[in-house]
Every structure is written in structure tokens, then in C-alpha cells.
Amino acid sequence: MPLLSLKNLSRSFGNTRAVADVSLDVNQGEFFGLLGPSGCGKTTTLRMIAGLEKPDSGTIEFQNADITNLPPERRGFGMVFQNYALFPHLNVFENVAFGLRARHKTKAEMTERVTSALELVQLPGYEKRAMDELSGGQQQRVAIARAIAIEPALLLFDEPLSNLDVSLREETRSELRELVTRLGLTAVYVTHDQEEAFALCDRISVMVGGKLMQTGRPRELYEQPAEISVASFLGRNNLIKAMRLSSSKTSDGEFKTLEGGHTLHLPVNHGDLAPLNKPVYLAIRPEHVQLNANGVPNSLPGHIREIVFAGATSTVRVDANGLLLEALVLRTDGLQVNQPCNVILSPDHLTLLK
């Protein structure tokens, strides 16, 4: 039974459909990510979960109760805002205690919970500080402390790390994950940074153009993207336009690439058997493209166009008879520009996109 369920949520601003028919479930104790390029509707979705935005249609259920029309202050969710939204006229203690005052806690309980929240974010003894006396990283921690002090039923994050510099971002990231796990909280985390999402989240929904494209574990999304938009958004990918050949069977799909005219094989099941006369996309990650092995299926002849050195790895661009492919290799010994070579697109790593 999911803790939070969004059912067919839609929201438009003027003529723009910010969120279109989004449905997803978040389970108890899960760290759930909403990932997508900027303007994809992920923040709007989060704000609808928080109650800050009302959906035009669809429902939000929490613990099996419909909370679509419940105002934010009655949802009991903690939220960490992108700009932190710390109250500039209140000190650290009062900021963290804000939600507790709204709940009319006793002074003793308030002090105790603020102290423990500040300890959890490693800011003990900062109670009296004003907001402008804190560094960006410290403000970030206060924002998190304020959200967890109310012991939220659900914790919402709106790109909370985007205002930190790179090294601080990675440090805070692992602390954040550790903290949420330790407190046994459920979190929904919005970000446009796939590395961040992969590192933090148990499951991720990828959103593009207001639509939810695919939900799954990070590895699943990366290796078996279902949609072309997901495949191209998550890391680099070789996208190959091809047509299914009539000779293909359900176990062995046979495809002809539109560029280069190569024949590729990959196993397909009955469910995603592509129509015969419509072009489809096949995807393969550059790190799965092999060079110079002979006598294996899906080996295409070509020649090297370019070798780009990037430290630990190098990118080799190969022209296979008009079909341009990228391969990520560790060593470039013996490879030269204009040298003929074979490119192998292993059927295990080739994905048929919808």
C-alpha cells in the first residue's frame, strides 16, 4: 500500500500545461526522486504535493485519504525550499521552532526538539545566530532542521542543493541521505541533476515537458530507458533510427538502420514488437559500444572520425558507413583517426525505445 499516491494530476498556467496527467506512488520509507530538465513540471508537482498549488484535475492521496483540497498547513509535510525561505527576522532557534509554535508545543518540548534537530544537522549551539550570520551551507542545514523538527509525515525537497558549490553539494548529499534513512522518513526530492538523483534516490520518476516518462530504480532507468526523451536526458546515448524487418521474430528482432543500412539483432518480446513500416529508435550507451572485435553479432564496419581525450576515459567517434556512433573507452592505444575499425553493438545492451 503506497504512502502517497498521485492520480492523474494536471495543472496549467495560462496556456502552458505545466503538469499533464501525472500518476505515481511513493512507498513508506522511500527516498523518491522527481528528475527532469528545467521547466518539466517537477517543481509544480512537488508544490501540488505540498498543497502550495492546486491541481486543475486529479487527486492526491496520503495514507489512503484524499488530501487534494487540504491546505498546506494541515498536511504536516516538511519542505525544504530551493532558496531555503528562512525567516530573515527570526534567529536560528525561532526559525526551527516555527512549526512547533504553530503546533502549540510547550516551551520545554520545543527547546528539546530544536536542540535535537540542530544536532542532527550538525549545527549545535547556533540557536542565537541571525540568518545573515550563516554561510550558505549553514542556512541549508537550518532549512533542513526546520523541516524535520515538526517530525513530518513526508519530507519534500525542492532542489535543495542547487545553491551550494560542488564539493559542499556532494558532502551535504550523503549527509542528507543518511539523515533521512536514520529518521525513517519518506522523502520526495526534486532535482535536475541526474547524478544527484542517482546517488540519493531509491526510485526516480523522469519528467519531460510536464509528462511523467518513466519511473524506476536508477539503474533501470539508465540501462533500460523506455522512451527516447528519457534515454537522451539521462547521460549520453547513441540513438539509432531503424526499421524492423519482416524477417524478425519475437525472440530475435531484426532491424535495419536508416543511416548506414546495417542490420542489427536484438531480442524483443511480444509486448514491444514494433510495427513494421514505422521508424523506431534503438539506444546504446557509449560505454557499451566495443571497438575492434570480430566475428560477433551486430558488428559494423566503419572508420574512426575523432578521438577526444577526457582524462580517465576517451570518447571515440566512429563513422559506420554514415551511421555516427560514440564509444567510451579506457585506453586509446593503437587507435588512430581515419583508421578502419569494427563497432560492436552488443544485443544485451541495445534497447528498443518506445
Binding site: 502550495l52 487540504l70 498547513e73 515538526i150
Partner: protein
């Protein structure tokens, strides 16, 4: 951690019921808004318009036909428009170059001028006019000085007519252009100009194609403000307008004569011109924001003038402007210590005394005048503060469901609130007097005119838009996510307002209230039309002292007024900084 039960555990059946009902607070707010606008804005203005179309109980255009047929009225309309256009042009010619000079360059004495630049704006028009007469009038310090120096038989000039009015208007109204152009220049992202230079544009091209287009909204706003203020100008035309008859003066004299029909009809004409300007102004306000669309920009540094001659010249200019700004106030100060009757043909008064101050502080009549002005202004300002919170809540634009009124209503209400501010004081006073000068539909048999309350009521109407504006500006500076954060932490609407918004906006609101208070303190234009012995304000006392040639006493009143205003403005300035 142990989890609390949710503060409002979702109970769908209850929730949907609650949402449908408008809370009583919202109903009360909407009711107050409707009442104030009905009594203060809609009814008085409507009754003036309706009266102007009536004669002997029947509907007619006769009033307009008759009045527009009189040469003197047409002359007044043309004079008012001509004076205002002339004022706008002169103020732009003075204010815009000054803004460029003081915003873009750095040199000694720049700060001195910048600190004084807005001085004419806080000077009550009547006090400014009086000070101007003492300084530049034909019996003033400058004229006497030149006369005595060269042994002339007559004063070298007479402070009368067009030239005098335009000079005085430029002195008091150029700050609109100076302040708004300065603010516009500061808002312009310097990297835009830099980008244009890198792309090969010359300095002149940058000015023409990058700076001026972004400055246009500020310039239009300044022009309209100047135009409206000039249309409403009354004290200067009254005291040294000479043959120049403007509409405000015509309305005043028509009422003095007892020709109410003419006064009312002219009032409508003046109101239409002013409201036309307001509507254009509003349109430009909406487009003002495009400078803010830029991302993180760079702010432009002032260029230090290093060339010796230019530096000296700029410094001299700054000192000269500072002296010009201070001189009228200095003159007023000097004259306030002059023994009555001691200043006839000398350059400066010959005998000094504190008797003038003793008189206004010990005299019961004077004490009453101060008491009246302070009480009435305080009542009006306090009411304006309360009202501004009420209206700001009603007008707030929230993305979620908390919106009280729709966008169309929002615009209409905003416009209605601005109406009393845009209308000349003369128009406000005449329309309130017309609406509540007889038993009326809204007040029954109670006649407001002739009571103490008429002036606080008019002060409130005239200056509440300032407070509303100040509060709205403060509200806009508050990051909307703060309230959202408070909401997500469980704070109800009322708590969000009192614990987050209010602590952040009160300095701005109080600063705006103080401004309204001091302007009301020196109010003359409307007061002179409807005051009664029970509420005689300071400005009326100044005018009557002046009429009796008690120049020293009139000046002393003015100085006390300026002291109160300065203290209030300093407090307001503190509060503004507190907010930043």
C-alpha cells in the same frame, strides 16, 4: 523519533465543507473595503458629476454650455494645461541631467547634493511658497539686495505671473524627475551597456538604444507625476500667480463668490484632466518591471571625475545646487526670528527676536491650531494604516486558492484607491463638500460639512493611497516562499500574517504612514475650502498671518512645521533602513 498525529489529519468530508465557506474575516475585509470606497470615492465623485448635469432639478448640459462659453474659464483651462506642460518640460530639463550627473559620476560634494535633492518634495506647498516669496519676491532678500547694492529706485523684478510660477514649480517638482530617473538608472543592469559596447556600439548609441529605452517608463512616470502635481497646484497661483488664472484658483474663487454651480462644473473638468493622466500613468506602471527581468547583473560603479577642471566644475555645481535647495528654508528660518515690522526696505531684517516663537507657543489660538493639525493628521494617518492593511489583504495575488477577488476587480479596486491621490485637493474637497454638505443618501440627516470630522476625512482620502503604496511595496519585497514555508510548517493564515509577513513589512508601512502624517500636517489646498473654526489647521493660520503682514509669525509657523516634518522623515528613514 516518535511521530505526532498530523495536526489536521485529512478528513475529506470536513475539508470540502470548509473550503466552500468564505471565512468571516474575509467577509469583514470585503465589507470595509466596499464601505470606504463607496463613502470616500464613489459617492462624492458621483454626486459632483451628477450635480454638474443638473439645474433646477432637471437634467441638462446648460452648466457646461454656459461655463465653456466664458472666456475666463477657457483661459483657466488653457493656463492650467500650459503651466503643467511647461513645468514638465522644465523639470525634465533640470532633473534628468542632474540624475545622470549624480548617479553616474563621483566627485566631492556629490553626497551633499544627493542628501538634499528631495528636500522640495517634503516642503509643504504653502510653506514653500511663503519661503519663496521671502527669498525671491519683489520685497524679498534677493530683490532688496540688488536694489540696495545698485541704488535702484524700484525692485529689479516682480515675482508675478508665468515666469514666477514656472520657476517655483521647477524648484518644487524637479525631484520627481531627479528621483525617478536616478532609480531607473540604478535599476539598469550595467552588463547590458557593457554587452552593447562589446558588440561595437558607441557611447551615444548605447545611450540611445540601450539606456533610454529602459529609462522611458521612469521618464513617463515622472512626467505624469509632475503634470498631475502641477495641475493641482494652488498655493503658488494664489500668492503670486498674478494674471495667470488656473483652474484650482477659479474653483476656489467661484466657491468664495457663492457660485457653486460654476465651482462644481469646473471641478469636473479638472478631475477629468487629472484622471486622464492617472490612467496613462497606470498603464505605464504595469510595464515598468522589465529591467528586473535580467538575471544576476552587475551594478554600475560611479565614474570618478579625474580631470582637474571638470572635477572643480562638478563640485561647484553640486555646492551651488545644494545652496539653491537650502536657501528658501534658510530664509524662512531667518525671517522667523525677525521682529515684526522690522523688515521693510533693508536687504535683511534689521532686528531679531524670539517673540514670534513665544507668540505661537503661548497663544491659546496658536496652540489650538497645532492641536487641530496634529490630531486630524494623526487620525487620518492611523486610519490610513489600518485601511492599507485591509486593502492589501483584499488585493493580494496568490497563486493558490486564497485569492479574495478576481483580476478584474483587483484592477478596478486599485484604480479606485488611486483616484483621490490623482485628483487635485481642490477636487476632493469640493466633491466631499457637495456630497455631504446636505442630508445625503448615505449619511441620512447627518451633515459632515461644518463639523470637525470633514478635514480628517479628506486628509484620509487624499493621503491613504501613499500608505497603501508603501505597504504594497514592502509586501512585494517579501519573498513569497516565506509564507509558503510557514504554511508547510503548519501555520494558519492568520499566524502566517502576524508572525512572518507583519514583522517584515511594518517598518515600510509605518514609514509610509509617517509620510502621510506630515503631508497632512501642512495641507492647505483642501483645508482652505472647507475648514471651520473648530478644526482650523496650521496652514490656515499661516495664510492669515501672512495676510496681516505678520511675516515673522508666519515664518515661525513654517519653521515649526518643517522641524516636525524633518523629525518624522528621519524616523521614517531609519525604519526604511531597518527593513533593508
Amino acid at each position: 523519533m516518535q511521530r505526532d498525529p498530523l495536526p489536521g489529519s485529512p478528513d475529506p468530508s470536513k475539508v470540502t465543507n470548509k473550503i466552500r465557506l468564505l471565512p468571516w474575516r474575509s467577509v469583514a475585509l470585503l465589507l470595509v473595503t466596499a464601505m470606504v470606497l463607496l463613502y470616500g470615492v464613489i459617492y462624492p465623485n458621483l454626486s459632483v458629476v451628477l450635480s454638474s448635469f443638473q439645474r433646477g432639478g432637471s437634467w441638462t448640459l446648460a452648466n457646461y454650455r454656459e461655463i465653456l462659453g466664458q472666456r475666463i474659464v477657457i483661459e483657466a483651462i488653457v493656463s492650467s494645461l500650459g503651466l503643467s506642460v511647461g513645468t514638465v518640460v522644465l523639470c525634465a530639463l533640470v532633473g534628468v541631467p542632474l540624475a545622470f550627473l549624480f548617479e553616474r559620476f563621483d566627485f566631492p560634494a556629490r553626497r551633499l547634493f544627493a542628501a538634499l535633492a528631495a528636500l522640495p518634495l517634503v516642503l509643504p506647498p504653502l510653506v514653500g511658497t511663503v519661503a519663496f516669496i521671502f527669498l525671491c519676491g519683489e520685497t524679498g532678500i534677493l530683490a532688496h539686495g540688488i536694489q540696495n547694492l545698485f541704488g535702484l529706485a524700484n525692485p529689479p523684478w516682480r515675482l508675478r505671473g508665468w515666469a514666477a510660477l514656472l520657476l517655483f514649480h521647477t524648484y518644487t517638482m524637479y525631484p520627481f524627475f531627479y528621483v525617478l530617473t536616478g532609480a531607473g538608472l540604478r535599476r539598469i543592469d550595467a552588463s547590458l551597456a557593457e554587452a552593447a559596447r562589446v558588440l561595437g556600439a558607441s557611447r551615444i548609441t548605447v545611450l540611445r538604444r540601450v539606456v533610454l529605452p529602459q529609462l522611458t517608463p521612469s521618464l513617463v512616470a515622472a512626467a505624469l507625476l509632475t503634470f498631475m502635481t502641477s495641475m493641482a497646484s494652488f498655493s503658488a497661483p494664489l500668492l503670486f500667480g498674478g494674471d495667470v488664472r488656473v483652474l484650482t484658483l477659479e474653483i476656489f474663487t467661484a466657491r468664495q463668490r457663492g457660485d457653486f454651480v460654476m465651482a462644481i462644473t469646473e471641478t469636473v473638468i479638472l478631475a477629468i484632466i487629472s484622471l486622464g493622466a492617472l490612467i496613462v500613468f497606470q498603464r505605464y506602471e504595469g510595464t515598468r518591471r522589465f529591467a528586473a527581468a535580467a538575471m544576476k547583473g552587475t551594478t554600475r560603479r560611479r565614474v570618478s571625475i579625474s580631470s582637474g577642471a571638470a572635477r572643480v566644475l562638478a563640485t561647484i555645481a553640486a555646492v551651488a545646487f545644494a545652496v539653491i535647495l537650502v536657501l528658501p528654508v534658510g530664509t524662512l528660518f531667518l525671517v522667523s526670528f525677525a521682529q515684526e515690522g522690522s523688515w521693510t526696505t533693508q536687504t535683511l531684517p534689521s532686528a531679531y527676536t524670539v517673540a514670534n516663537y513665544q507668540r505661537i507657543f503661548s497663544d491659546t489660538y496658536a496652540a489650538e491650531v497645532f492641536f487641530n493639525s496634529l490630531t486630524m493628521s494623526a487620525i487620518a494617518a492611523a486610519a490610513a494604516l489600518l485601511w492599507s492593511f485591509c486593502i492589501v489583504i483584499v488585493l493580494r495575488r496568490r497563486r493558490e486558492t486564497g485569492k479574495l477577488v478576481g483580476e478584474g476587480w483587483r484592477r478596478l479596486l486599485s484604480l479606485l484607491i488611486l483616484v483621490p491621490w490623482a485628483l487635485p485637493g481642490t477636487v476632493v474637497a469640493v466633491s466631499v463638500a457637495e456630497a455631504y454638505g446636505k442630508p445625503s443618501l448615505l449619511l441620512g440627516s447627518f451633515v459632515l460639512v461644518g463639523t470637525f470630522w470633514i478635514l480628517p476625512f479628506i486628509y484620509f482620502l487624499r493621503f491613504m493611497p501613499l500608505v497603501v503604496r508603501a505597504l504594497q511595496a514592502s509586501m512585494e519585497q517579501v519573498d513569497p516562499t516565506l509564507e509558503e514555508a510557514a504554511g508547510s510548517l503548519g501555520a494558519r493564515a492568520w499566524q502566517r500574517f502576524t508572525r512572518v509577513t507583519l514583522p517584515l513589512v511594518w517598518p515600510g508601512a509605518v514609514a509610509g504612514t509617517l509620510l502621510a502624517f506630515v503631508i497632512a500636517l501642512g495641507e492647505y489646498v483642501a483645508s482652505v475650502l472647507v475648514f471651520v473654526p473648530a478644526n482650523r489647521p496650521i496652514s490656515i493660520a499661516i495664510a492669515s498671518e501672512l495676510r496681516d503682514f505678520n511675516l515673522g509669525t508666519a515664518a515661525a509657523y513654517g519653521v515649526v512645521l518643517i522641524v516636525i516634518i524633518s523629525i518624522s522623515m528621519m524616523v521614517a528613514g531609519r525604519l526604511e533602513r531597518l527593513r533593508g
